[in-house]
Subunit: 214 residues, 2 copies
Amino acid sequence: MAFKKVSRIKIPEATIRRLSLYDRCLDDVRKAGKKIVSSSDIARKCGTNPAQIRKDFAYFGEFGVRGVGYYVENLQEDIKKALGIDRSWNCALVGAGNLGFALLGTDSLAERGFRISAIFEQDPILVEMGSFRDIPLFSMDQMQRIVPEMGIRIGIIAVSPENALKVSHQLIDAGVKGILNFTPATLKVPLGTILKNVDFAIDLEGLAFQLANA
Amino acid sequence: MAFKKVSRIKIPEATIRRLSLYDRCLDDVRKAGKKIVSSSDIARKCGTNPAQIRKDFAYFGEFGVRGVGYYVENLQEDIKKALGIDRSWNCALVGAGNLGFALLGTDSLAERGFRISAIFEQDPILVEMGSFRDIPLFSMDQMQRIVPEMGIRIGIIAVSPENALKVSHQLIDAGVKGILNFTPATLKVPLGTILKNVDFAIDLEGLAFQLANA
């Protein structure tokens, strides 16, 4: 069984998010020592239904053997490949404030293949520190040189909202291809650059919706 | 035009997330002084298509007048009502670490109706501060009393992963109905309590997927 190369069909963002969740559930399954898993097993663990899972997998082509289930290890490999996390991604963090430090303290990013290789910061006193948890700290004007030198593909923006737009331009100029924006600032990126905005209020709104309709 | 009371039909989480995004786009539209907006306008601003928007709105019943468009103000009122953010929600933050302070510094939560009314923290030295940005700081053992007293409905868990499970139980015992979990810990909540997990790696995986398939 192998997921085919992703076709031209646009895969819904919700499917991608669910693939991430399936992968996490499969971690638990694997740790529990199970080798084969059915879509019903995954559905139960992830709080979805088997039809949804099969539909999500179908975007990527082949299925496991029906009635027998999926080999956990192979399925995870295929999901990671589909998600593009069968490799590691070099990331730069911009902004060594509270949020930046919180992100640096999150082991789960590295576990999922996202390695923060450099930190950029405008405050010279922080830059003086030289590094944080062995990750080198640079001033903003070193970005143009460091990003290509270290092969950094993803920039994580954790600066104050009023600086976010400028930082996004600097990152793109330096050659970053993907941006994760933690600020509420509205950014625009050129074609070929991928932007994702993280907005904690959206999760709270999802919660509020369910509470209001419970 | 008015959104009907949400029916028994299960509304996809992706629709709820998009409603949050539409509401943010409509903020911009309103600020630009526009009074009427078409689904094509919203689609262009939000990077989706008009059919998707009409489909999302259809879960809530009535539409605006076709061909004329939606009154921005009414539409936003209806979306906020549907999302349950036509009111304000009292939240408690548990954990005054880097992430906690980052969240406290995020004005956008309050702007969207989520008011952090209390902070709970296990470190007595921090609790000694008494308050942060006028938000009272309490020790963990005050949770049982403070949550009902302040009418807190939502608990935000920003502690270390190994403490998350215990904190979730404490919050639920104290009467919290919704939990936003920022830790990678896997939590289980009883029926009637809503749990949402925030996982920054999922956003990065969405980015990786697009970069790998660009």
